[in-house]
């Protein structure tokens, strides 16, 4: 089933237009009965204070491959029709869009769960690093234990997979 899933993954400095992206995903998977998407944004405030800019560094040779593997895992675990992932890199302003994960499937449950699964894996396995810049100076964002726990939850529940 996973061979027939439409997969489109981009790592880019440019912004994206959500409407256009979702429209394209729908056009590529006309059988879809459900479309779920997540958009991550640069927060205006961090614990250290107001953020003026965020810089996202990545490991170019590994990034797309890692996202591809995450999408393929989701496609093996749920019955999906299409996946669109975009992750931006480089300097971003406060409130900018960082990431888009969009999923289509026949019914909503698969799309909801696969979208959450891919974000949880992206947060812990895709080689991106955020640096926050503001009046406080600049610092690298620390990884959150809760992100790792969210991923482990999926590993525990792997028996639930409808394959």
């Amino acid at each position: 089933m996973s061979e027939s899933v439409y997969l489109n993954i981009s790592v880019q400095p440019e912004d994206f237009e959500i409407g256009t992206e979702l429209q394209q995903l729908r056009a590529a998977t006309p059988q879809a009965g459900a479309l779920v998407n997540f958009v991550g944004l640069v927060r205006e405030m961090s614990a250290a204070g107001q953020i003026s800019e965020m810089v996202i560094e990545h490991y170019p040779a590994m990034t797309e491959k890692a996202l591809q593997q995450i999408a393929q895992q989701a496609a093996q675990r749920w019955s999906l029709l299409g996946i669109r992932m975009i992750h931006r890199v480089g300097p971003l302003t406060a409130q900018a869009q960082i990431v888009l994960v969009a999923v289509t499937s026949l019914h909503r449950q698969a799309a909801f769960e696969a979208c959450a699964f891919m974000m949880d894996y992206l947060k812990t396995e895709a080689p991106f690093w955020k640096k926050e810049i503001g009046g406080f100076g600049q610092h690298w964002v620390e990884a959150r234990v809760s992100d790792e726990q969210a991923k482990q939850q999926w590993q525990k529940n792997s028996g639930k997979s409808p394959t």
Binding site: W129, K131, W140
Partner: protein
Amino acid sequence: MNITILYFARIKEVVNYSSEEVALPDGVETIVALKSWLSGRGDTWQKLFSGGGVVRAAINHELVDDMATFEDGDEVAFFPPVTGG
């Protein structure tokens, strides 16, 4: 053997460069052995690998654990836990 090592994010800033080619002595063929060999370069390196922060590793663009082995010509990368999304 000869390998390429890449450094990213906070670790790149600590090391002060982003990549290097190294010729390793016999027996250094796991991530844990490489960390220990690099730690022999001095304080900065020792703190990096044995200090509080976690250092993750990849071999040829795949995340690996400390016991993973690499071969001549491989690309090894060291970086902090990822924070994308």
